[in-house]
């Protein structure tokens, strides 16, 4: 996933892995930034707690006195939406923000002046952001969910391991999907409208962040279950609330790996073409 340069392709595998240490420079930036502005964290916690509380209130209103909807009990749906909010901490990406701004303002050239591959630099940046976000948002949301909203938490080793695995794969899928949107900046310059549309409708709604696929029309369920979007929220959260067993979870992980390979190939292809379109005017 470099820039297609001869030198990078010719580099022996051992040196390639050693070269990966360079990306810690990108991954640690969001962590340092988090440390620098830690005083503003409580405001973020309150905001996300209120949002989770509203989502839960919405579902309680939908259920009314009904015991079960689309196979979900009220307890499961509450756990589902709050678990989705916990996963939000992992499912973060900085690619759109970094690249669309960088292309428009010409600052993308600064990333290209470093001895790193741009896609890996973006991935490292996102990984650092996710790592920081787990501590700054994920854990506070988990505590709030368990103590206030009575969220169910998987404690058995198998579902717990599956949630971690699927969450990790979901993070990787998001980086590639978000990266592809971000690369469109090299053609459209401004991707801000696209950002919002994709973030709020595609990734959150169609990813199954706050509405399980069971509530979607049958044709959409079939389509989404086989799409890479299912790997973002739907699969890990279904394992979390006990709606998906180990076998189905592993099958979902296999499907995620397939999509990761496909998306990596597409991104590598797009990246090479994007690099030919780099334009930066002025000093």
């Amino acid at each position: 996933m470099g820039d297609g340069s001869d030198a990078e392709c010719a580099r022996p595998p051992a040196r390639r892995w050693a070269g990966l240490a360079r990306y810690w420079g990108y991954a640690r930036r969001p962590l340092v930034e988090l440390r620098t502005r830690r005083s503003s964290l409580p405001l973020g916690w309150v905001r996300s707690w209120v949002y989770a509380y509203i989502l839960v209130a919405f579902w309680r209103a939908v259920y009314g006195h009904t015991a079960q909807e689309a196979g979900y009990t009220l307890g499961q749906i509450v756990s589902y939406v709050v678990a989705g909010q916990v996963l939000n901490a992992v499912l973060v990406s900085t690619a759109q923000e970094r690249l669309s701004q960088g292309v428009r303002q010409g600052t993308v050239i600064l990333d290209l002046l470093r001895p790193v591959a741009l896609p890996l630099a973006l991935l490292a940046d996102g990984a650092g952001m996710a790592l920081g976000s787990i501590f700054s948002h994920g854990i506070p949301m988990l505590i709030f969910g368990v103590l206030v909203l009575h969220m169910r938490v998987p404690l058995a080793p198998t579902p717990l391991a599956l949630v971690v695995l699927l969450g990790f794969l979901g993070f990787a899928l998001l980086q590639l999907l978000d990266g592809l949107i971000a690369y469109s900046a090299f053609w459209t310059v401004r991707t801000q409208g696209l950002d919002r549309l994709v973030n709020w409708i595609v990734f959150s709604l169609l990813g199954g962040s706050f509405v399980p696929y069971a509530f979607f029309p049958h044709w959409a369920q079939g389509l989404l279950t086989w799409s890479p979007l299912a790997g973002l929220y739907s699969d890990p959260v279904q394992v979390w609330v006990g709606r998906m067993g180990a076998a189905a979870g592993l099958a979902a992980a296999g499907r995620d790996l397939f999509w990761l390979a496909v998306l990596m190939a597409i991104q590598a292809w797009v990246h090479v073409r994007a690099m030919r379109r780099v334009i930066s005017f002025g000093g």
Partner: protein
């Protein structure tokens, strides 16, 4: 020894969006938008030897920054070839970037929201610097650029001069062999400029760093560069030492003469004593300005010709790159 930088027939074109303003365009009177092809750089050829400090001069839009982006592999040339440290910047960008430093005065490469020292730590990993090597180089840069007072300050809270010193340290942490500086002193005060110039001379002398410098402050270039490349509308129009450039473009030194108030020296009295190729101009403050050819006449020779006149004082204005710049770019080459 191979050249540190070699460009051959370098050219770059851009497609630039043109949007016609006004109601006529809105009403459909002709195309409201279209694209124009702009030749940012045409057939530029030069070589820079290792350890040279070269000024790259030209007015806004001449193609200076474009050249730097082509030399560093950020942009692909439309035509021509480039080799920097014997590498092809486009195809071997990552390898090249590990050996060069690039500073764009108008674009910060430091991370805005974190303390300056944290940007250096991040760069330590990005350039795969060993702990000891990093510690030693950072210590040296801290001393030379006097960074200690603001190392722990977030970059967004630094003054322009402090930020520029930080930027310079950031591009030098990995000990680059070639340094590209695009307007490094923009917005920096006189004291800061002087410190930066001395610093560049120092790293060139101690480390043999090759430097390509663009600046609108011609003092920067005159004070540190032994060679200048003059660029005009994307084409190279001059290459040589600053003094040679000023001569080549017909810029001459000026001797300004002040006469005693009761001396009553007439212009023609002075003119009679000067060779024909000297020009004479009366100034508003009563002084006479004599423009002469230094190759034909030295200032002492000129003064000795005027020795019998009641000269009270005199001042020599050397032909400078600024004068050449004005002549070439202000009056047409």
């Amino acid at each position: 020894m191979p050249a540190a930088i070699h460009a051959e027939g370098l050219a770059r074109q851009f497609r630039v969006l043109r949007v016609r303003p006004g109601a006529r365009a809105d009403a459909g009177g002709g195309r409201a938008r279209g694209y124009a092809r702009v030749d940012a750089l045409s057939d530029v050829t030069f070589s820079i030897e290792p350890g040279q400090m070269v000024g790259y001069l030209g007015p806004n839009g001449a193609g200076k920054s474009t050249t730097i982006k082509l030399l560093t592999g950020v942009l692909r040339p439309s035509a021509g070839t480039v080799r920097v440290l014997e590498l092809d910047p486009c195809r071997q960008r990552q390898r090249l970037c590990a050996q060069i430093g690039v500073l764009f005065g108008q674009r910060s490469q430091l991370w805005w929201d974190i303390p300056l020292i944290e940007s250096f730590f991040a760069l330590r990993y990005i350039y795969a610097l060993g702990a000891e090597d990093f510690r030693r180089q950072l210590g040296r840069l801290r001393e030379l650029l006097q960074l200690d007072a603001f190392l722990q300050t977030p970059v967004r809270q630094l003054s322009l001069g402090q930020r520029m010193r930080g930027e310079l340290a950031a591009v030098l942490l990995h000990r680059p062999r070639v340094l590209f500086l695009d307007e490094p002193t923009i917005g920096v005060d006189a004291v800061g400029k002087d410190a930066l110039r001395r610093f560049l001379l120092e790293i060139n002398r101690l480390d043999g760093v090759t430097i390509l410098l663009t600046s609108h402050d011609l003092g920067d270039i005159e004070s540190i560069c032994g060679r200048v490349l003059l660029l005009h509308q994307g084409r190279l129009i001059g290459d040589g030492p600053p003094a040679e450039m000023t001569r080549r473009f017909g810029v001459r030194p000026v001797l300004i003469l002040y006469f005693s108030a009761d001396g009553r020296v007439r212009t023609d009295q002075v003119r009679d004593r000067l060779p024909p190729d000297c020009t004479l101009e009366a100034r508003a403050d009563g002084a006479l300005a004599v423009t002469f050819d230094r190759m034909a006449l030295t200032p002492p020779q000129l003064l000795s010709r005027l020795g019998d006149l009641p000269i009270l004082d005199f001042r020599l204005e050397e032909a400078s790159l600024a004068h050449a710049f004005l002549k070439v770019y202000g009056g047409g080459a």
